[in-house]
Structures are given as structure tokens and as C-alpha cells.
């Protein structure tokens, strides 16, 4: 194929547009910082997050302990860093299965239409009718608190969002001439679905993924706060906030600083999602 | 109406000084391809520029009232209001008529635009009408504003040929009856030639040629006008004349 044309590859144009989108730049910057801290936590944390110093409990922020210490004298900065690793790992891992399942179901149901689509639509409606947290907490209760319960809960309910949105998008795309032309040209259903439609809905799925990771992270923190999430002694922002709330009025930094970590990560994810949607012109 | 050196710009300039004059009772065609700025010129006159665009230079003078009709009437009709009521409402606002008088006036306007079965049609909603009927309702809506100048933005492009012919004939007779001035925007020189005494050819936001339709068609000066004329696919003459 000729390479002499002035044709600009979409990836290049994409990068150019991305660099001019402040939300995306700020969002990814935050995520990169949080991610690096999470990965390098064991190396860069000033203290062992589990080591207790009962004589130095609830110390205010100082040169030795930038974020102060908790009721057991553990360094809060080190624990916030270690918790970043826990919570992000769970959020990302828990988001993967629903992504794959939801996108596949959405694509197939939007493409096939007919009674299969109708059936999936009713299943989705049923799930949507239940409040989200009620479903998650029920599954976690049944499967047992902790990481395993969270993964299971999300594998069961997380695909719904993708399936709904991707299905709607696929239906719209199927009405476009190029999908009909691909079929008319003799391409197989599988090729049209995964070779042509999937790349066109992928940006939408990635933007949803950002929102979902955010949602799962908040849910993990909430479950931790309720005592249903990550179990001690593994550090987790939710348990840290929950343990520290007793001291909110007198030792504000104990629950507030882990809370701010949640907010910062949340803002990073949401800015990235918004920025990607802008760059891909999804609205 | 007089337009003098009209400039419109968004991120880049789209109209580079368009000038155009329409005398009382005159019909002027504005011809060009997509992106020539022909619709933009009309919208600038009506103050209906799309968001992000503004007039950056030149003057527009309109003696009297101007009204406009569009290619796609459905976007300019309220889908939830009966078409008769929509026209009556404009009569009420513009002419200060009572509710009852405005209803009567709306039916008169429907007669003016040659809508058959007026009493029945007036009670219909826009989606229940055919394309030609909608365009007539839009025309009635424009006439309800008692305009001196009617701006037409490709009003027949979406219509079937036979309906297009009816709407063109209607516009011509309205012009004769009411002394309306017309500005008719179209990509189709043949359509413009049916209706307009003078024609202005636009290309990329600039006037490339203007003159009496007959002269421009017979002796085009600008190469672009010649290209537009060549693009009109000819049809052989119909045996037995073209009465009808």
C-alpha cells in the first residue's frame, strides 16, 4: 500500500488532540502519580505499614510522620500508600471480567436483535431494578467478606452497564451503511462483529471502564468501611477511614488523609474518563 | 433588501464580503454548492447564525419584514401542536388578532398556499402531513408574519419533482399576487432559473458572478458558473410540448 500520501494516521491525530485536552492531561497525571506510588509503596514508604508503635499513637503530622500516626502508632503515610496498592489492584481486577462479558453481550445482543436481544434486555432490566449496593452487599455476604466476595459480586453485576450502553451503540451502528455493506460483501457475522463493530465501540467501552473502576474503588472503600471488604491487617482506605472516624473531631488527620487519597484517585479517574470522551468525540 | 460586504466568521472566515441587493417584488436566486455560504447568507440576514459564528463585517438592510422557509420543515414545526394552531398563534402575535379571528385567518392562509381539505389538515400534527403539505404549512407560517421579503433556503430540495413543481409555481404566484420579494437559495441552477429574474453565484463564501438569469445561463463569464451549468444534466425536449 502506498505510503507517500499525506494521510495522517489516526493514532497521531489522536495524540495531538489528547495533548490539547486539559481534563485528560490532568487526569492521567494524577493516575500516573497514584499508580507509581501504589506500585512502589513497599520501596518508598518510610515505614512498614503494619509495624506498631503503641507509645506513639495518634501523633499529629510531623517531620518523622508526615501524615501522623494512627491509634496503634502505625505511620499513616505508609498505610495510605500500601492501601493504594490494595484498593487499585482490586478495583482494576474486579473491572476486567465485567468489561469483557458486558462488551461481548452488548455487541452480540445489539447485532443479533430479535428475541435474544429481548431476553438480554429483560435480564438487564431486572438487575437495574435492584439498588446497586443491595446487590453487591448480598453477594459479598453470601460469598464471604474480602477480596473474593468483591470479585464475585462484580463479575455478577458489573457487566450490566457495558451491556446496556454497548448494545444501544451497536444497534445505531448496525443501521449505518458500512455495516450492511460489510455483510453484503460476504463477510461473516464474526468478522463484522469483532473486526468492524468492536473497534468502533471500543472507545466507549474504555470510557465506561474508567467510570466503573472509580465506582468499584468507591465500593471497595465503602465495603471496607462497613467491615465487609478487605480484612485487616491488609491496609485499605475504607477500613482506615472507618477506624479513624472515632477521632474525627480531635485527630482529624487520621480519617481525613485516607479520605483525601480516595477523592484524589476518584478525581483522576473521572477526569481521565471525561477527557477520553472528549478526545474520542463521544458526546 | 441590501447586503453590503457581509462577512461571517467562526474559527475561520466563511463569508468574505458578500454583497447582494433585492428590489421590491424581485426574485433573486443564490446558487452554489455545499460550503459556498449560500444558506449562511440567509441565516445572517435573519440573525439565525449557527452557534459559534458571528457577523464580523458589512451591513444588512431590510426594508420591511422578512420571513424564511427551510429545506426541512419538520425541524421548524412544533411536533406537539396542531399545524392550524401554530399558524393561528403567529397571526395572533403578529396581527394582534383574537383567538377566533386568528383561526379564520390561518384557514385563509392555508387557502393562499393552496392546501386542499384545509379544515381537516389544520387539525393534523406535522408528522401526519406529506413533505409537500409541510412545506406549504411552513410557507403559511411565513406568510402569517406578513413579510415583504421571503427568504427560501432550498425549500424544494427534499420534495418529489411533481411536488417541487407545485411549490415553485405557488411561490411564483404568491410573488405576483402580493408583490413579495424573494431570495431563493438552491444548488440547482435549473430550479433557480424557473423562478428568479436575477441570479448570484456563490463559491467558498464569495460572489463569483451575478446578473440576469437569462444572461448568466446563456453567457456565463466565470469558469465556476460554467462548471455549474455543465453539471446540469440535460433532458431532451418532450414531444408534444410542455403544457402542464
Amino acid at each position: 500500500m502506498s505510503t507517500t500520501t499525506a494521510a495522517v494516521r489516526p493514532s497521531v491525530r489522536w495524540l495531538r488532540r489528547a495533548r490539547r485536552t486539559p481534563a485528560l492531561v490532568a487526569g492521567t497525571a494524577i493516575l500516573v502519580v497514584v499508580g507509581v506510588v501504589a506500585v512502589l509503596a513497599p520501596v518508598i514508604a518510610p515505614y512498614d505499614p503494619a509495624s506498631q508503635d503503641l507509645g506513639n499513637g495518634l501523633a499529629p503530622p510531623s517531620a518523622a510522620h508526615w501524615f501522623g500516626t494512627d491509634q496503634l502508632g502505625r505511620d499513616i503515610l505508609s498505610r495510605v500508600m500500601a492501601a493504594a496498592a490494595t484498593d487499585l489492584r482490586i478495583a482494576v481486577l474486579a473491572a476486567l471480567v465485567p468489561l469483557v462479558v458486558g462488551v461481548t453481550i452488548g455487541l452480540v445482543s445489539g447485532y443479533v436483535g430479535g428475541w435474544g436481544d429481548w431476553l438480554i434486555g429483560r435480564v438487564v432490566d431486572t438487575f437495574v431494578a435492584f439498588p446497586f449496593y443491595v446487590l453487591v452487599i448480598t453477594v459479598v455476604f453470601a460469598a464471604g467478606a474480602g477480596e473474593r466476595g468483591i470479585y464475585l459480586a462484580y463479575a455478577l453485576v458489573g457487566w450490566i452497564t457495558y451491556a446496556r450502553v454497548i448494545r444501544a451503540r451497536t444497534r445505531t451502528l448496525c443501521r449505518e451503511g458500512w455495516v450492511q455493506a460489510a455483510r453484503g460483501g460476504g463477510l461473516s457475522h464474526g468478522r463484522v462483529l469483532f473486526g468492524h463493530l468492536l473497534p468502533n465501540v471500543a472507545p466507549l467501552a474504555v470510557v465506561l471502564l474508567m467510570t466503573e473502576i472509580l465506582l468499584i474503588m468507591v465500593a471497595v472503600v465503602t465495603l471496607g468501611y462497613l467491615g465487609l471488604g478487605v480484612q485487616p491487617p491488609t491496609p485499605d482506605w475504607g477500613t482506615m477511614i472507618s477506624d479513624g472516624q472515632l477521632f474525627l473531631t480531635t485527630r482529624w488527620w487520621v480519617p481525613t488523609l485516607p479520605g483525601l487519597a480516595v477523592v484524589l484517585t476518584g478525581v483522576g479517574l473521572s477526569l481521565t474518563g471525561d477527557g477520553l470522551a472528549d478526545v474520542w468525540r463521544l458526546r | 433588501m441590501r447586503i453590503e460586504g457581509l462577512r461571517v466568521a467562526g474559527e475561520t472566515e466563511l463569508l468574505h464580503g458578500v454583497s447582494l441587493a433585492v428590489g421590491a417584488g424581485e426574485a433573486v436566486g443564490l446558487v452554489g454548492e455545499s460550503g459556498s455560504g449560500k444558506s449562511l447568507t440567509l441565516r445572517a440576514v435573519m440573525g439565525l447564525l449557527p452557534r459559534g459564528l458571528r457577523v464580523t463585517g458589512g451591513t444588512v438592510e431590510v426594508d420591511g419584514r422578512a420571513a424564511m422557509i427551510f429545506q426541512d420543515p419538520l425541524t421548524f414545526l412544533d411536533p406537539l401542536v396542531r399545524v392550524g394552531d401554530q399558524v393561528a398563534e403567529v397571526c395572533r402575535v403578529v396581527a394582534g388578532l383574537s383567538r377566533r379571528a386568528s383561526r379564520v385567518r390561518a384557514l385563509e392562509l392555508f387557502a393562499d398556499v393552496r392546501l386542499d381539505d384545509r379544515a381537516v389538515l389544520a387539525r393534523r400534527y406535522p408528522h401526519q402531513l406529506s413533505g409537500g403539505q409541510r412545506q406549504r404549512v411552513l410557507l403559511a407560517l411565513a406568510l402569517a408574519q406578513e413579510p415583504d421579503l421571503l427568504l427560501c433556503d432550498e425549500p424544494t430540495t427534499a420534495l418529489d419533482v411533481t411536488v417541487q413543481r407545485e411549490v415553485l409555481d405557488l411561490l411564483a404566484s404568491l410573488r405576483a399576487e402580493r408583490g413579495l420579494s424573494l431570495v431563493f437559495v438552491s444548488h440547482d441552477l435549473a430550479v433557480v432559473a424557473q423562478l428568479c429574474d436575477r441570479v448570484v453565484v456563490l463559491r467558498d463564501g464569495e460572489v463569483v458572478e451575478a446578473g440576469a438569469t437569462r444572461d448568466v445561463v446563456a453567457r456565463p463569464h466565470h469558469p465556476y458558473t460554467r462548471r455549474l451549468l455543465d453539471a446540469v444534466l440535460p433532458l431532451p425536449a418532450l414531444a408534444g410540448g410542455r403544457d402542464g
Binding site: T5, G177, A181, G184, G185 | D188, T213, A218, A231, L235
Partner: protein
């Protein structure tokens, strides 16, 4: 039955109403048949029936003497290709022109088939496909470097020619073009029509050209059929139709077309 496409008494019904009613029509290889009709005449439905995306309520569609089944095989779908009205929606925005054509050639193993039947110094499949893509561009009057472009880098007329090239890639017998010029600027219309005329003559393709625009039909077609409310009211050679239409409705249509006043030579 003869070569080409033959519709016999074709009817299509939606919700109990016959949108296409008892239509019979032939498209011979190397000829262009124009199908004229106003909105609601059923011309797009008829196009769908021909390419097999809607089922028939009655009648048969034959291709080269063989009846086409209700559910068409891949080969049968290949043989009758559609060019759609809107060139802006008919190309996948994420694929270059070359990728689209190349995929079709690969899926149908056209290179392998051609090379197998060709005894003299056969090139490899990849080279054959590249040459074929360039050849297809030539057939629709586009430069070979168009192959490296994405749809958004092309004008409406170029896109429509790419859509025609895509239809040609699978080596069809019949091309159904549904209002292929009505979304294009007037100065581009003629190029697209010229491409269709050239193809029917050079490749021996049978073309069913559907349009509401009589001058488009006149510029390209050998035969004209007028569709009104699902029925064919007149079917005549173009040479006779445009000057001596026999049906009053055809006559009304022809009279309604706006014409330019005489031009100086």
C-alpha cells in the same frame, strides 16, 4: 432464461400492505436500467428485495437463469452488490480504503482462485491483491494513493467511488445503485455516473440505477422503468421514454423537471 438479473412478478409486503406489487424487470449484463420513482413508490424496498435483505411476498428473482434462494448463500450475495445513497455512512471510519478492499479479496480468496486458474508465472497472493486494489481504484477513476486514506480524508464523490470499488472488489454480476448521486454536489454527480456507465461497458456489469432524478437516469441508462405506488407503470428504452413517454404519469414526471433556458453554443 437469459443472462443477467430477471425479476418476475416480485412483490414485497410490509404489515399486510404490498409496497412492491408484481414487478417484472430484466437487467442484462453490460446495460444500465433506470428505475424512477417518487418517495413512497417502493424503489428502495425493491432494491432491498433484489440484494436479498428483505423477503419476497411473491415472485422470483433469477440470476443468469438460476433462481436465488430466500436465504442467499455467500456466493449469491457476492453476485448482487448494493451501492447506497449516503457515502458518508457507507464506509467504516476506522479503516483505510486499502484495508477494506484487501479484506474482501482475502475473505473470498479471490487472489488464490485467480492464481490457481492462471498457469503462466503466477505472482504471490499478496502482490496480486495489491495490484487488484490499484486496478479497482483505476476502474472508478481514483488515484492509487487513495488506498492509504481514511474515509474522513475523502470528499463525498470520492467516497461514493470507493463504495463502488468496494462493490466491484467481490466481482459481482449485478450492481444495484440506490440514489448514488443524490447526496453529492451537482458538479460531482456526473463523475459518479460516468464511472457507472464506463463500468457497465468495460466490465460487462449489469446495473440497476435507482433515482428520483430523471436527468440522472437520462445521463446513464439504456432502459427506464417508472415505479408508482409499487407498480411499474412504464418500461421503455431510454431513447423513446424521454421524448415519447406512453404513460400519463411518466409524462407528468417529465414535465415537472425544471429545465434550463437555452444556452448559447
Amino acid at each position: 432464461m437469459a443472462d443477467g438479473l430477471e425479476l418476475t412478478g416480485v412483490s414485497v409486503a410490509y404489515a399486510g400492505r404490498r409496497v412492491v406489487d408484481d414487478v417484472s424487470l430484466q437487467v442484462r449484463p453490460g446495460t444500465i436500467v433506470g428505475l424512477v420513482g417518487e418517495s413512497g413508490s417502493g424503489k428502495t424496498t425493491l432494491a432491498r428485495a433484489v440484494v436479498g435483505t428483505v423477503g419476497l411476498a411473491g415472485g422470483t428473482v433469477h440470476l443468469d437463469g438460476t433462481p436465488l434462494a430466500r436465504r442467499r448463500s455467500r456466493t449469491e450475495r457476492r453476485a448482487v452488490q448494493l451501492v447506497q445513497q449516503d457515502p458518508y455512512a457507507s464506509l467504516n471510519p476506522l479503516l483505510t480504503v486499502g484495508r477494506v478492499l484487501d479484506e474482501l479479496l482475502r475473505v473470498h480468496r479471490l487472489a488464490e482462485r485467480r492464481i490457481a486458474s492462471d498457469t503462466a508465472g503466477a505472482p504471490d497472493a499478496g502482490a496480486w491483491r495489491r495490484a487488484r486494489c490499484a486496478e479497482l481504484m483505476g476502474l472508478v477513476g481514483l488515484e492509487a494513493d487513495t488506498l492509504g486514506r481514511y474515509p474522513r480524508q475523502l470528499s463525498g464523490g470520492q467516497r461514493q467511488r470507493v463504495a463502488i470499488a468496494r462493490a466491484l472488489a467481490v466481482e459481482p454480476r449485478i450492481l444495484v445503485a440506490d440514489e448514488p448521486t443524490s447526496a453529492l454536489d451537482v458538479t460531482v454527480q456526473r463523475t459518479v455516473l460516468d464511472v457507472l456507465v464506463g463500468l457497465s461497458a468495460r466490465v460487462g456489469l449489469g446495473v440497476l440505477l435507482i433515482s428520483h432524478d430523471l436527468s440522472v437516469i437520462h445521463a446513464a441508462c439504456d432502459d427506464v422503468a417508472v415505479l408508482r405506488e409499487g407498480r411499474i407503470v412504464e418500461h421503455a428504452p431510454a431513447a423513446r421514454f424521454f421524448t415519447h413517454p406512453s404513460d400519463p404519469y411518466s409524462r407528468r414526471l417529465l414535465q415537472a423537471v425544471p429545465r434550463l433556458p437555452e444556452r448559447a453554443p
